[in-house]
Amino acid sequence: MIEITNLVKKYHSKEKLVTAVDNVSLTVAKGEIFGIVGYSGAGKSSLLRCINLLERPSSGSVKVNGQELTGVPERELRKARVKMGMIFQHFNLISSKTIGENIGFALKAAHYPKKKRKARVNELLQMVGLSDKKDAYPSQLSGGQKQRVGIARSLANEPSVLLCDEATSALDPSTTKSILALLKKINRELGITVILITHEMEVVKEICDRMAIMQDGKIVEQGSVYDIFADPKNELTREFTSSILQFDIPDQALEKVEGTLVKVQFKGTTAGEGVISDMLKQYAVQGNFLHGKIEYIQEIPLGIFVLELKGDPVEIKRAIEYIEERTKQVEVLKGVA
């Protein structure tokens, strides 16, 4: 478990004091995949680096598995870092060493018995599906393969925590998917807590359990990924979720709308209950779908539909009230309410 309390990280850059992390408190439960989202410069990278103390926090506390890490001497810190894996956007492999040697280096850092290193390296390479690349150099691998090596290296010493610094941002979409699947597998099979920072909501949607949104060094919103997607409270959060859920209806199509335009959001199980068809049966209105989308977030459906309702205004009003009652998420975009 990771407990961050009142964490502040300040930098002295040219005559200016920059507060990269501004009084952040955060708790990540054991075995969770936690996503931190924000634009570049939001402080998420600094926050992540404060967890394994690659950057010394200016104040506040970082506890990993009950051990307070701030103020710990360098030697102790190295021991703690062995139990925290980290992967990077640009992989950061040692270019003069083979893949096997790169992973071996992590084992050596942890004083892993020399005799057993070879077997452990093979085991790790198998886990990430790169057994045949042991003697290759990083420059001979593709981006996705390099990240797999990075993952193997980070897992070498059986960490309890894996920190991911924009781990998929330099990869193409299909490679991103496979790396995310690997991270999820590691999380489920080895029970490793994963903290990842990203600016891609796609990544969070794909694998995270909970998430936080950062802006100007502060966490503006946090919660379960589903809740945040279904009901974002903060302006910035809405901006991020809309990157996944948003759809634009062309102006031309909007102009043709004669009736009332409503946006309905279905959460979880209600998505399958046929609220719309019930409504159409009960009220004398005509329904016409203009747009619709169902996203599965943490395997729970989240549906958003835009439909035009035509007919008697009174009936329409009652129909909308009916949907409101069933879904709690109706928004009238155009026309009478």
Partner: protein
């Protein structure tokens, strides 16, 4: 300019060449032995690095700059007492090696520092993140990663030393330079002058070629 004359002096030229090789070899060895660690210190004590240490960086940097700012010919003379104390004589190739080494150490140290600076900071960060000790990072990450560049720097140092060693002839240091001055300059023997220059040109070309080859060979990037 006669070929006979060159052949006649061939043993002398040969001897001088070996002396040059000897002087450059010794001072290059000392440069690696002392300059390399100094270069590493200059780099790892830098701000934001894993052995950040302002005072050490400033002091080492100052000494390195100070020695580098002294013209070699002055260094050659100024170090005569120290040379006497270390090797027991002030003439000959061994004596010249002392001042050559002193000049080579800070030169090579700065080259090493620059080579290390080229390493991707992310790789160093990743090594810190796996819990590696500073010594491990230096030995297993910094030096291997900078190896091609350091070899290029070593070539550069060797070639500079060839040029400096020629200057050592002024104080009777021996070597090709000494030969050129004694025969070519004092006795107006143009044959020897031209021959020594050709030998030096060839030597430098070979050094550079070999250095480039070797650097390329160890480069895995």
């Amino acid at each position: 300019m006669s070929l006979d004359h060159v052949i006649e002096l061939l043993p002398e030229i040969n001897q001088a060449f070996l002396e040059t090789l000897y002087m450059v070899g010794i001072s290059l060895g000392v440069a690696v032995l002392i300059g390399l660690p100094l270069g590493v210190i200059l780099f790892v004590t830098d701000k934001g690095l894993f052995l950040e240490n302002g005072p050490v960086k400033t002091v080492v940097g100052f000494i390195v700059n100070m020695v580098r700012s002294i013209p070699f010919i002055i260094l050659l003379v100024a170090l005569i007492p120290i040379t006497q104390w270390i090797v027991g004589t002030t003439i000959g190739p061994t004596a010249a090696s002392v001042s050559l080494s002193v000049a080579a150490i800070p030169f090579f140290a700065r080259i090493v520092e620059t080579s290390l600076r080229e390493i991707d900071k992310g790789v160093i960060e990743a090594s810190v993140a796996v819990g590696a000790s500073p010594w491990m990072i230096i030995k297993d990450v910094l030096l291997p990663e900078a190896k091609p560049s350091i070899i290029q720097g070593l070539t550069l140092t060797a070639i500079s030393l060839v040029a400096y060693s020629a200057m050592a002839g002024v104080v009777g240091g021996g070597g090709i330079g000494d030969l050129a001055i004694r025969f070519g300059y004092y006795r107006y023997d143009n044959t020897i002058m031209v021959t020594t220059v050709i030998v030096l040109i060839l030597f430098v070309q070979i050094l550079q070629l070999a250095g480039d080859r070797f650097a390329k060979l160890v480069d895995k990037r």
